[in-house]
């Protein structure tokens, strides 16, 4: 086994974690903490009618929330005393804070779980805030208080190219609502490429396509490295989410003697003047169908 990691980084991260965890607890502060100014949620509801009803069906309106904080609305919004004194002059709006400050409010509680790696994540570094996607008081999705009707609709609001790809002929069942973006990606951040949950894109793919995990007796080398070398996961005009259709994607690497390097044009199609089963139906995969690997002793050319 080739160990290409020196132990130094491991020791550094272990030491940093140990020191960080042992440091004295620093009191977290809400944006403008002033205990004297807390007024209680009942005061808020006196003017802000309707919010309590919406909150009641969310975790923030349950007794469990009260067990974590007895400050109700002011847990997130901060003390309301000044606001009551002069509602126009002082408005404890979360949206008035900077993106980092907004996220700090939520991370008072939501620092673990899927939010564990929020700091330094792609969305965090692009100044996306929790409230960009989640609505505490107003939301449409059934779960996770997503503002849009579904996770994917929320993601599409920025990732418009992915929405377009989802309408293509070959696609994962995202627009049918059978899986969602967050089944593969952790929008709150991950240490892996493309924010997938698994340690690599391939390992993420194996979570649903475990039959391709191998390792096989005869592996197809690029398959083991990167499924996206040949497949585009969000949608394709070609069969099986192929980036480029067979046989041409195969010929980008295999232009061997005899049939692999042959020109397959209009005449070699099924209704062409000289049809060839290297071009129609599954093209190369008509014979080399074990393209992801073979466990057959005679399967080195991925044909059994």
């Amino acid at each position: 086994m080739k160990i290409r990691i020196s132990p130094t980084p491991l020791l550094i991260v272990a030491a940093v974690l140990a020191v960080g965890l042992m440091l004295p607890t620093a009191a977290r502060s809400s944006p403008s903490e002033d205990p004297g100014d807390y007024v209680g949620s009942e005061e808020c509801m006196a003017c802000h009618e309707g919010y309590q009803e919406k909150l009641a069906m969310t975790p923030h309106g349950k007794a469990g929330f009260a067990a974590l904080s007895n400050r109700g609305c002011e847990t997130c919004h901060g003390p309301g005393g000044k606001h009551i004194e002069d509602p126009e002059a002082y408005q404890p709006l979360i949206l008035a804070l900077s993106p980092d400050e907004q996220n700090e409010v939520c991370q008072q509680c939501h620092a673990g779980g899927t939010q564990f790696f929020w700091q330094g994540s792609m969305h965090e570094s692009r100044d996306v805030t929790c409230t960009t996607c989640h609505g505490v008081h107003s939301y449409e999705a059934e779960v996770n208080q997503i503002k849009a009707a579904s996770v994917q609709e929320q993601c599409y609001s920025c990732h418009k190219d992915i929405r377009a790809q989802a309408w293509k002929r070959s696609h994962h069942p995202i627009r049918e609502g059978r899986i969602s973006c967050s089944d593969c990606h952790n929008p709150h951040g991950a240490q892996s490429p493309k924010m997938v949950y698994a340690a690599s894109i391939n390992e993420q793919c194996y979570s649903c396509h475990a039959e391709k995990r191998g390792p096989f007796l005869w592996d197809h080398a690029p398959v083991r490295e990167d499924c996206t070398a040949c497949h585009t996961p969000h949608g394709s005009n070609h069969l099986k989410l192929q980036k480029t259709s067979v046989p041409y994607i195969c010929q980008q690497c295999h232009s061997n003697t005899r049939h692999p390097g042959t020109l397959y044009d209009r005449t070699r199609l099924a209704d062409g003047t000289n049809p060839a089963n290297r071009e129609f139906s599954r093209a190369c995969l008509n014979c080399h169908s074990a393209i992801h690997g073979s466990n057959h002793p005679s399967g080195w050319a991925l044909m059994r």
């Binding site: 086994m1 418009k160 059978r178 390097g261």
Partner: protein
């Protein structure tokens, strides 16, 4: 699976509707301070009219005529909801049903159960000339197998039909204790069964290819145990995951339609090895910390993937004799293997560490490091030869190749808050590959990226980025493709070809996205993005791959009662590749060159309006259209072979139109009813599927129908809030 007839569906749906309307409102059942109530019941009666038998309309869903039912059942303790219970059922009994159960005691523990049924239909009415005494045994009827070709063709043309598709049934159960607490623990169990038939093909030679249904019965089971600590200045996560894949069918055996008598060089049947059972064990430790103005994120993951499936013999053909390294002979259908089982294993070690800090008030620094080491430690097995296509022994000695690689990423990013609302960042990343047994041992790709994030006002957001990178590699060794062979072989791939995943390249990546909110009611967004991959240093293979996107979106929401949107997106992709046609030996004649320019232009647009005028009526109308035009243009110089080529003008021309209309009327606080209409029109003109016949050019094909359709779905529904 429920397939109601129209009459039964209508009768049962109406009966349930009537019963629910007549029954008094069910009072929440209370027991020991726990309130349980049916929140909503959804009942739909669907009527589907589709003009063809294409599977495409219902590829991942079950919208067949009949009853569709859903229900939400909630429970809550009387102490303000400290204990919560929810059951959500959708599409009860249907092939795409989804059932959830959640129970939580706030601040203490929670349990969630999710059952998700996902159909995947590959094609209907496939040509099925095979008898199936067992799901993985495909027999060509004795009177026909091996007789003259005309009789076989006639038999194939009148064969039975089969619908090809899978059903994924997924279960996930998770127990969490201490969520949002300092210490949290979780146990999760997952199971998925996949069951059905998928098209597969295999050959006995160029002129003897068969496509047949591959029987699928997969079980994938997983368990995860995890713990998490969240302190004020950091956190630690750790856990273990186990995943096991089991295939109930180790192989499939199919008859050779053109030969009934088994002998050397005359296979009467073939055996195809299906996906082997395998498993994965994974340990992970993840941490984050804040120390003295720095933040750190890191993880260490070890994943061991293994499979030790029993190996099949070299062939099923009992007429073939194999020859060992020592010249001894053995029956290839039952002996001569170096081992009985594969015993393959790959260990994957992932390590990552990110860190960042603020440099003064306006600057920030982020450092990233990641190492992914895929080490395939499978034994290198030596085979004295192999059986080609269950037809004959080939004495080319072979050795298995445990491809391994390591991928290392490093990066540094400097951020500058130009103003309170504008941030500029410059990043440099480098990605290094180290591979075993492949054409390129080492590759490095350096990328510089400039990004802008700006909110110049509350009414505008601008994001832009541009990245440029260059990949350089060590020597390209074409001979590496021969690594399977024990004895020397001459190169048969073009020496000037560079496999694109290992080739030197230049990459440009760009994106501009603007979002404007001119008023509370209006929002407008537009942008463009693209990626250009230039493999200009490759003589053959992929030379260029470019994609460009343009998008526009308009939204209008003047209040809570009206919402309108319109979007359009255009994707234009161009691929260019260069090849040279050879005969028995590699051609060195440039006149044998040919190239192909592939273009795909996809325009996707949609619009929708939803209205809730406040008089009890609701309207929701949307339209989506995806239109793709693809072309494959060939170029080949005269005088060589090939000397001319005919372009393909339907490198997948596809159009999908979907129109949805939903009208609802709120009868009272408890009952809403309405109607729903879905129209879809799908046309595909695919070069690769055009003109397919059950038997063509030596190939027996399934030719399933997943093509054009026009579908109209009409539904009436009633939603009860109880």
């Amino acid at each position: 699976m429920i397939r109601h007839t129209r009459q039964y569906a209508l009768a049962s749906g109406l009966a349930v509707l009537l019963a629910l309307l007549v029954l008094p409102g069910a009072a929440p059942a209370e027991d020991d301070g726990f309130r349980l109530w049916v929140d909503t019941v959804d009942l739909w009666v669907l009527e589907l009219d589709q003009d063809t038998k294409s599977s495409k309309f219902q590829e991942y869903r079950d919208l067949g005529s009949g009853l569709w039912a859903g229900m939400k059942l909630y429970g809550e303790s009387a102490d303000g909801g400290n204990r919560n219970f929810a059951i959500r059922l959708k599409g009860i009994g249907r092939e795409d049903g989804r059932y959830n159960l959640d129970y939580r005691v706030e601040g203490k523990y929670s349990f969630a159960l999710d059952y998700n049924k996902i159909p995947h239909r590959f094609g209907n009415d496939a040509n099925m000339p095979w008898d199936r005494p067992a799901l993985n045994r495909l027999e060509f009827p004795d009177p026909v197998q091996g007789v003259d070709q005309d009789e076989i063709l006639a038999f194939v043309a009148s064969a039975d039909r089969i619908n090809l598709g899978l059903q994924r049934d997924r279960t996930r159960a998770q127990f969490d204790r201490g969520k949002l607490q300092r210490w949290a623990w979780s146990v999760a169990y997952t199971h998925e069964n996949r069951n059905g038939d998928r098209p597969l093909s295999a050959a006995f030679g160029f002129g003897n290819v068969q496509e047949f249904p591959e029987p699928i019965n997969y079980d994938t089971t997983g368990v995860e145990l995890a713990g998490e600590f969240n302190g004020d200045n950091g956190g630690l996560r750790f856990g273990y995951r186990y995943s096991e894949f089991e295939n109930q069918f180790g192989s499939v055996v199919w008859d050779n339609p053109f030969n009934a008598v088994e002998a050397d060089r005359n296979p009467s049947r073939g055996r195809y090895d299906l996906a082997p059972n395998n498993e994965a064990d994974l340990f992970f430790v993840e941490g984050r910390a804040r120390v003295g103005g720095w933040w750190f994120n890191g993880n260490l993951v070890q994943n061991t993937m293994s499979q030790s499936d029993q190996l099949l013999p070299y062939t099923i053909n009992t007429g073939i004799e194999g020859e060992g390294f020592d010249g001894s002979t053995f029956p290839a259908a039952g002996a001569g293997l170096p081992v009985a089982r594969a015993n393959n294993e790959a260990e994957v070690l992932t390590f990552s560490l990110n860190a960042g800090t603020a440099l003064g008030e306006d600057w920030s620094l982020t450092l990233r490091y990641r190492n992914y080491d895929y080490d395939n430690s499978s034994p290198r097995l030596r085979f004295p030869g192999y059986v080609r296509l269950d037809e004959r022994w080939n004495d080319d000695g072979l050795i298995t190749v445990p491809y391994s690689y390591a991928r290392e990423n490093m990066g540094i990013e400097l951020g500058w808050d130009v103003t309170d609302t504008t941030n500029l960042s410059l990043a440099w990343t480098t990605e290094s590959w180290e591979r075993d047994f492949r054409e390129v041992r080492d590759a490095d790709e350096d990328t510089f990226k400039l990004s802008l994030n700006s909110r110049p006002s509350k009414k505008a957001t601008v994001r832009a980025s541009w990245a440029t990178g260059e990949r350089t590699t060590s020597e390209y060794i074409t001979e590496a493709q021969l690594v399977f062979f024990l004895d020397p072989h001459s190169i048969d791939n073009l020496p000037g070809l560079r496999k694109y995943d290992q080739a030197e390249r230049d990459v440009d990546d760009y994106e501009v996205a603007v979002q404007l909110y001119p008023s509370d009611a209006w929002n407008v967004s537009f942008g463009f993005s693209g990626r250009d991959e230039d493999y200009g240093k490759s003589e053959f293979g992929l030379i260029a791959d470019e994609v460009g996107n343009l998008n526009f979106e308009l939204g209008y929401t003047p209040g809570a009662h009206l919402n309108f949107y319109l979007f359009a997106h255009d994707e234009d992709r161009d691929v260019f590749q260069q090849n040279r046609q050879s005969g028995r030996s590699i051609s060195t004649d440039p006149a044998d060159n040919w190239s192909i320019a592939l273009n795909e232009d996809t325009l996707t647009w949609g619009a929708g309006v939803s209205s809730d005028p406040g008089n009890g009526w609701t309207f929701d109308l949307s339209i989506n259209i995806s239109d793709t035009d693809g072309e494959a243009d060939f170029t080949t110089p005269p005088g060589g072979s090939p000397s001319e080529a005919v372009d393909i003008d339907n490198y997948e021309d596809i159009e999908l139109t979907a129109v949805r209309l939903k009208v609802g009327y709120k009868l009272n606080d408890r009952v809403t009813c309405g109607a729903y209409y879905l129209h879809e029109n799908y046309t595909i003109n695919s070069f690769i599927l055009q003109g397919l016949q059950p038997f063509l050019a030596g190939t027996l094909l399934l030719v399933p129908n997943d093509g054009d359709y026009r579908a109209n779905l009409v539904a009436v529904y009633a939603k009860f809030k109880i």
